[in-house]
Symmetry: C2
Subunit: 356 residues, 2 copies
DNA sequence: TTGTAAGCGTTATCAC
DNA sequence: GTGATAACGCTTACAA
């Protein structure tokens, strides 16, 4: 009955209100049932080719876009993954978010980003938001303040898979994706030694993180490999604030035998150390060489860059964390076996130093 | 009937499967109706104090978290706002996202972030995702490639409020939040002139954006205010790639009468110009002064920083865009009247120059 | 190959 | 002050 069909079409093609077309509307307009339309739109094998065509054509005309909120509700799945990071002002985490998002989108998932700004309180609130949004899974780099992970374990126990990345609590055995910072430290020490350094300082971060311990182990084993005695006073801890980074630098430089080279937890720390050296120890500044972690693009703009940086793969880390997370989501009944994924961490030497 | 109640409690407190508790579960356990529980949890005035307490207590015990996916569906609102930006590698947009998110979260909204990476194709895909997620509203900084905004107008016509921020197409009258770049340019020119410059170059961006036109008008009017004739050859366009930024710089410096000062569209452009000057025009580099937009924190790490930068308020811009967007969402029937919101843009001079 | 009906969790409306 | 019922848009057994 073409006429009737046309009338219906008219009705549904130009709704006066801004209500978006639903599957029901399409079904009514084509005198089909909603289930048929639903299947047709998703290319279900049970539906005839002509029907599919008719449905898809009208859907296009009406600018039909499936209502994800309804699908999520119906499927009891949010098709949303969460990512909790300290801050997006850190290039590393921005890149990690990108890798995570890309993988998630490619697999039909949205991403909810949360920034703790290093506050455990905010981290807790964000976890509630994530649960409330029924995220299907979550990756976390814990805040600096997070020394107790009860709130995170509660989430795990509620059945939401979680993967740590980069910052994992040292006392928890759990899935984790991070850089191979150990090998990075070994390489950095070897390079320092090859340039004649024997007195090598190290500015580390929270000892509550495995990534700090691993850096330390690499630093220590690196020294051992070159028969350099380990000197506790050469290792300082910083909390990433500029004040703390400079303080750690000053403590090192005020030693009776200050270091001639410093390995820093990350480039941000190294850059503050560099400024501190030049401002507070101008006489020695030029003879102290620095290596950080992260290969921060900022360095390209410095006239006198530091010696080098251990280039990490944040994008890949985000992507691998997403991949692991989806595995966990799709195999909920698999037996629990903490997985540890590591990505490479390669020493990059800045050009002005290569040329010497 | 306490016994019965206890048994029910037991059943619902420790579900063997990981199914999360629902309002129904709480209702059954307390022998109440779901609607009562729903109201109690939301402090509805109709519900008695004791009932509210009982309900809330059990909800807490069961770790009940309201299912947002259900609420969204029921309310026909996603309580989600979208933000489309070129890239999170740009500090400006990260800060804008933060301001936007903060305001959104404080008003019970989630945020979906999309990065176009300057691709119109990706921008179109993201808009479909946003619609599919039924975002209640959207703010956009269009991609560099976006010279046609049909895809955006389609979204507006489908009833989703949109606010442009920073990058608005010049041919569209629509809500927009951005920096007062015009006044910024006026101030920059005035400062250049106060330092003796009469030959001032300008590296601008896409003329398709109002924000480029406004910068240009400020540049031109600034010159006029100081009776400096406008010279077309002193204005170059760049697309933000390093190559393009350097190219524009070279074109300026190769003029018969090259500029002694340059205003750049943003700090990234200025930094590339700075490097280009020092590498390709070492003789003149030190006598050319630069001002950009953005007060990029990177500059703090430079030993010889540029003259200054026009500090924008990205956080405030994000916040104001969110505020305007929520207004539009909450007053859908208000008559259409494009709103333009501007935030300040203040010249910041870097210390080494102040001291001269 | 297509249609029917139930249901996901919540809330609004209306009845009691 | 509390409860029953319907509805949101979609998918999925199962029925035809």
């Amino acid at each position: 009955m073409p006429t009737s069909s046309l009338i219906r079409l008219f009705v549904y093609i130009s709704p006066m209100d801004h209500k978006r077309p639903t599957i029901k509307d399409i079904a009514a307009a084509l005198s089909l049932s909603p289930s048929t339309v639903s299947k047709a739109l998703r290319d279900h094998p049970n539906i005839g080719a002509t029907t599919k065509e008719r449905v898809k054509k009208l859907a296009k005309q009406l600018h039909f876009v499936p209502n994800q909120t309804a699908i999520r509700f119906k499927q009891q799945k949010s098709f949303t993954l969460g990512i909790l990071i300290p801050s997006m002002l850190d290039h590393f985490y921005v890149a990690a978010v990108e890798g995570f998002e890309k993988f998630a989108y490619d697999h039909g998932y949205n991403v909810l980003i949360g920034q703790s700004h290093e506050s455990i309180q905010r981290e807790k609130e964000l976890l509630v938001t994530m649960q409330s949004n029924r995220v299907d899974g979550l990756i976390i780099a814990i805040s600096r303040e997070t020394l107790d992970t009860t709130h995170i374990n509660d989430v795990v126990n509620s059945g939401i898979p979680i993967v740590y990345f980069m910052r994992k609590p040292i006392n928890e055995e759990h899935h984790c994706v991070c850089s191979d910072v150990y090998t990075g430290a070994i390489d950095a020490i070897a390079y320092f030694v090859s340039r004649g350094h024997r007195r090598i300082g190290f500015i580390n971060a929270s000892s509550f993180w495995t990534t700090s311990r691993d850096r330390f182990l690499g630093y220590r084993d690196g020294l051992i490999q070159h028969r350099i005695p380990y000197d506790k006073s050469l290792v300082q801890e910083s909390d990433f604030t500029q004040a703390s980074n400079r303080q750690a630098t000053r403590r090192l430089m005020r030693l009776d035998k200050p270091p001639t080279a410093i390995l820093a937890f990350k480039d941000q720390v190294m850059l503050d150390a560099l400024n501190c050296l030049r401002q507070d120890f101008p006489a020695k500044a030029d003879s102290v060489e620095l290596i950080g972690y992260g290969a921060n693009p900022v360095i390209e703009y410095l006239e006198r860059p530091p010696l080098g940086s251990l280039k990490e793969q944040p994008h890949e880390i985000g992507q691998k964390a997403a991949s692991l997370l989806l595995d966990l989501i799709n195999n909920p009944q698999a037996e629990y076996q903490p997985k540890l994924v590591k990505t490479s961490c390669e020493l990059q030497v800045f050009s002005s130093h290569k040329q010497r």
